[in-house]
């Protein structure tokens, strides 16, 4: 197609713009702290075997439910395993699965939303009612249904999370598109006789991308919570692989006598989610998007 290079340029935007947005995000305290937290977590997850002081599987019958001390900085759990080690490694699965599922969710939800926002009419009417119906169901019900049908494991969790978390993205992308479609430059493109695909690629995509980026960051934190909740319920990661949700579930029974095994994974999870939310906030401000208008699903 003759419009290849121009389209590509339109989609990737100008590098100077990306750089300036990153600079803008970093210039805000929320963006700086948020990005720091995210990067710290990702680095820990990637290189955790180097950082972990002990073997995550190694049990020690003589060191059960030890409080924090010089050898076990965060203490040990009910099987005598080092909690620091398990916390450092406990985010690997969660971050891996959600980091793949989030872009997938934003991609399919965003594309469908942009398309519906552009064409409107009967198809839009019907599909949006389907979306409403999906959003009306509690997420845990939908997730458990899929897992019961297809089993657990990364190969099921990634498409399942990507599917369900793409549905609210449809709404956001559609709403953002409808704002753009009403503007004269889209009308001008239609009057010139451009095809729908061309209008989506050239006129809409670049303008909706900002909203999608912020929405993606939000979806990521929600997805992390969902993944951890599934593990907590025993439908996510299977033992002995360390996982935050699983660790919280295991230590629940000993909360009265030994609260520290639950604290470490809780703090790890919340710091990551706080980091993502702070970054999303800063990103939204840098891009000039009103987060108050974003859906809360």
């Amino acid at each position: 197609m003759s419009d290849g290079p121009a389209t590509l340029a339109a989609i990737t935007a100008r590098p100077s713009r990306i750089l300036s947005v990153i600079r803008e995000v970093l210039s805000r305290p929320s963006g700086f702290i948020g990005l720091f937290l995210i990067i710290a977590h990702v680095v820990l997850a990637l290189f955790s075997p180097f950082f972990a002081p002990f073997d995550f599987k190694a049990m020690n019958a003589n060191a059960i439910l030890l409080p924090p001390d010089a050898t076990h900085w965060l203490g040990t759990d009910q099987l005598g395993r080092d909690i620091l080690t398990r916390t450092i490694m406990g985010g690997r699965q969660a971050i891996l699965v959600t980091a793949i599922a989030t872009p997938l969710a934003v991609a399919w939800g965003g594309l469908l939303g942009i398309y519906l926002g552009l064409v409107g009419g009967r198809l839009d009417d019907i599909l949006m009612r389907v979306v409403d119906a999906f959003l009306a169901l509690p997420w845990i019900l939908k997730m458990l249904l899929m897992i019961v049908t297809f089993g657990t494991g990364v190969g099921v969790l990634i498409p399942t999370l990507a599917f369900f978390y793409g549905i609210p993205v449809i709404r956001i992308a559609r709403a953002a598109t409808q704002n753009i479609v009403a503007r004269d430059f889209v009308l001008a493109a239609r009057a010139r006789g451009h095809s729908r695909g061309s209008i989506m690629r050239r006129e809409l995509f670049g303008n909706v991308l900002d909203a999608l980026m912020v929405e993606g960051a939000m979806r990521w934190s929600w997805m992390l919570l969902a993944f951890t909740s599934l593990s907590f319920l025993g439908f996510g990661v299977s033992p002995p692989t360390p996982d935050w949700g699983l660790m919280i579930a295991d230590s629940r029974n000993f909360m009265a006598i030994a609260p520290w095994p639950a604290f470490a994974p809780v703090i790890a999870l919340s710091s990551l989610i706080i980091g993502i939310n702070l970054t999303a906030d800063a990103l939204a401000k840098a891009l000039g998007i009103d987060r108050a208008q974003a859906a809360v699903h």
Partner: protein, 687 residues
């Protein structure tokens, strides 16, 4: 009747911190005193700092602005350093603001009477029992008919003009000593605007309030103000009595501005003022106007001229004010109209009707047809090759809708659009042939909306070139540069984004994009109404040049009658989607026959202190759907009788293609006119 100085701005400079960290001034060394009983107009183009100055007069700075130096005194006290609790008492109570878009400044969920009562209670000058009577009195004072009825309405139930009147009543509620008016009539229809200005000038004459009227519209200023201050790049460049400033100003910028205004009585194109004002902080050491000045000398660049008092009164910021008179304020430029005969008919709209009524899902299921009177109805217009046809009318007259139908963006409900020799043009863009799409191009009102903010100028121009001509690579770039040069922009614009361009430059890019398709028919939808006057003149000149070069046909839609006069060969006057009058521009403007055309043309404001608009039609809100019979009958000042309400007016031919849709016999229409619209200095004032 003028008294002591009430508002006194002394050496005021206001600025903001730019991205570079430098303090960039938007107002520079403003010295301005306004006396009680005086009405001062502040004119300037967008970015000249006029609104900032008006807001500073009530002690308000927009977010991010800081005072660099100076004071803004009201009754001897500096508002800019006053604690906010004291400011609150002065604002509304002593100084009131009437903003531009009053529909937005009224609370949508309170009845008009309740809002006025609230304002009265806030200022606490009256006993509680006196409120209802005072509300009615205020509404009468702003000449609203049936004040009791209006008081019980919500703002959305009022027309734009009525809302503006309510806003004025709100401002008067606190019995302020000073009134600040920030573009109070911008965005209103011509006939409504004339009514509001009449009211304001009445307030100005009768009361001893100090009034400051901020506007870009010299016509409105001329109507209300006795003294005019001209601002340029954050400075006062000229200050004098209205007659001098509007007829023989002593500053080159003011003279250029006057020359760039299209006028009803002059069929030639206005003279453009090339260039643009320096951005804040970029004015250099010399005169800020030096780059656009026709008589500038080298000392003008070296030293900033001071605001010198003139012998004849007033002040001017120009070293060469004695020589400024060599700059013409009136144009004797070329007439735009090519006149005479044109080619074959290119587009013929026959009995065109357009309806926006959309079938709801329930209607579809029940098989009901959409109801309602069409927005545009019974429109017959023939457009010949190479001519410029102007469509004029107030908001809601259907002029843009007709353009969209020709462009294929709204389908006609009935009737047809015939194009060239190929017969009827398919209704929508999707059904049209690529050749037809290429030959008909549309230019929009606001370039901020019509250019994709994420695309560079190169990408914007590439769109039609790739789509219609399949160009790519060097050929594409070469053609883009050639087109940019045709609209008097250079190749260095290719890599820029629309946000890096001025309003006029953006509109040139939008024009370039339309002409890139090598169109035969260009549809211009209010293309100059978002631009400043001096820029507007340049864009009009460009459009005229382009059509001379390529013998393109234009359909030119505008609400500004003077702009249409400057460019069009023929003009069609529309009211509520129905044709009132169509004919050669010179005939329609010199001898308006239809009562609506007459009302419209006589309400136009001229930047001339002697000119006074004639208020013929009532500024009542038109009801939807349009009236049966003659659409204008509800407001018509020459209504014949019941026939106007029942029967569609016949077409009356006044010769030379001049057709009037009216029940009044043609002989009476052409002879017995209430006013002759033009060339008549002293107009009777009809209330």
């Amino acid at each position: 009747m003028t008294g002591d100085i009430l508002i006194d701005v002394q050496n005021l400079s206001i600025g903001f911190t730019g991205r570079s960290g430098k303090l960039l001034p938007v107002l520079r060394n403003i010295d301005l005193g306004v006396r009680r009983g005086e009405t001062v107009g502040i004119v300037g183009e967008s970015g000249s700092g006029k609104s900032t100055l008006a807001l500073a007069m009530m002690g308000y700075l927009k977010h991010g602005l800081r005072v660099i130096s100076g004071r803004s005194l009201f009754d001897g006290r500096d508002l800019l350093t006053m604690p906010s609790c004291e400011l609150q008492r002065i604002r509304g109570g002593k100084i009131a603001l009437i903003p531009q878009n009053s529909g937005q400044s009224l609370s949508p969920n309170l009845r008009v009477g309740a809002q006025l009562t609230e304002a009265l209670a806030l200022h606490g000058k009256l006993a509680l029992s006196a409120f209802p009577a005072r509300v009615i009195q205020l509404l009468q004072q702003v000449r609203l008919p049936d004040p009791e009825v209006i008081a019980s309405r919500y703002p959305h139930e009022l027309s734009g003009g009525q809302q503006q009147r309510v806003a004025i009543a709100m401002a008067l509620a606190g019995e302020p000593e000073a009134l600040l008016l920030d573009e109070p009539t911008t965005g209103l229809d011509v006939t409504t605007q004339a009514h509001i200005l009449e009211l304001l000038s009445d307030i100005a004459v009768r009361s001893d309030k100090a009034m400051v009227y901020v506007s870009h519209d010299l016509g409105a200023i001329a109507r209300v103000c006795s003294r005019v201050v001209v601002m340029y790049a954050g400075e006062i460049v000229l200050d004098g009595d209205a007659t001098t400033v509007l007829t023989n100003p002593g500053h080159p910028y003011a003279r250029g501005l006057l020359a760039s205004i299209p006028r009803l009585g002059n069929p030639s194109l206005p003279i453009a003022l090339e260039g643009r004002p320096p951005p804040p902080g970029d004015a250099g050491p010399g005169c800020s106007f030096v780059d656009r000045c026709a008589i500038a000398e080298s000392p003008c660049r070296a030293e900033r001229p001071g605001l010198q008092p003139l012998l004849a009164g007033g002040r001017v910021r120009c070293r060469l004010t004695e020589r400024a008179e060599s700059i013409p304020t009136k144009r004797d430029g070329k007439p735009a109209s090519a006149g005479g005969s044109f080619g074959e008919p290119l587009v013929r709209l026959s009995n065109l009707a357009i309806s926006y009524a959309r079938q709801s899902l329930v209607d579809q299921l029940l098989g009901r047809k959409p109801q309602g009177v069409p927005t545009v109805d019974r429109v017959d217009i023939e457009i010949r090759q190479g001519e410029v046809i102007g469509l004029v009318g107030e908001s809601g007259s259907g002029k843009s809708t007709i353009l969209k139908a020709v462009a294929g963006l709204v389908g006609p409900a009935s009737g047809e659009i015939a194009y060239d020799k190929s017969g009827a043009l398919p209704a929508t863009v999707e059904q049209r042939r690529p050749e037809q799409l290429r030959e008909i191009q549309l230019i929009f009102q606001n370039p901020d909306e019509s250019l994709n903010p994420r695309h560079t100028i190169e990408q914007i121009l590439a769109q039609p070139l790739q789509l219609y001509f399949g160009l790519s690579g060097d050929a594409l770039r070469e053609r883009s540069i050639a087109i940019l040069e045709r609209v008097r922009l250079g190749a260095h614009y290719l890599d820029r984004l629309p946000s890096q361009l001025s309003g006029g430059e953006k509109q040139r890019v939008a024009i370039a994009r339309a002409f890139a398709a090598k169109p035969r028919l260009v549809l211009c939808d209010e293309v100059t109404s978002a631009l400043d006057v001096s820029v507007q003149a340049a864009v009009l000149d460009l459009l005229d040049q382009l059509r001379r070069d390529s013998s393109t046909t234009y359909v030119f839609v505008a609400h500004d009658l003077a702009v249409v006069r400057a460019l069009s060969d023929r003009v069609a006057v529309l009211y509520q989607g129905r044709l009132c009058e169509i004919g050669p521009t010179s005939a329609v403007y010199s001898r308006p026959c239809h009562p609506y055309t007459e009302a419209l043309i006589s309400a136009v404001l001229e930047p001339d202190p002697g000119a006074r608009p004639v208020l013929m039609a009532e500024d009542i809100m038109e009801l939807s759907p349009p009236a049966k019979g003659c659409p204008f009958q509800r407001r018509c000042h020459r209504k014949v009788g019941p026939i106007c309400e029942s029967t569609t007016p016949p077409q009356r031919d006044a010769g030379a293609g001049h057709v009037i849709h009216c029940h009044i016999p043609i002989g009476e229409l052409t002879s017995a006119q209430t006013v002759s619209a033009l060339g008549n200095a002293v107009r009777p004032h009809v209330q």
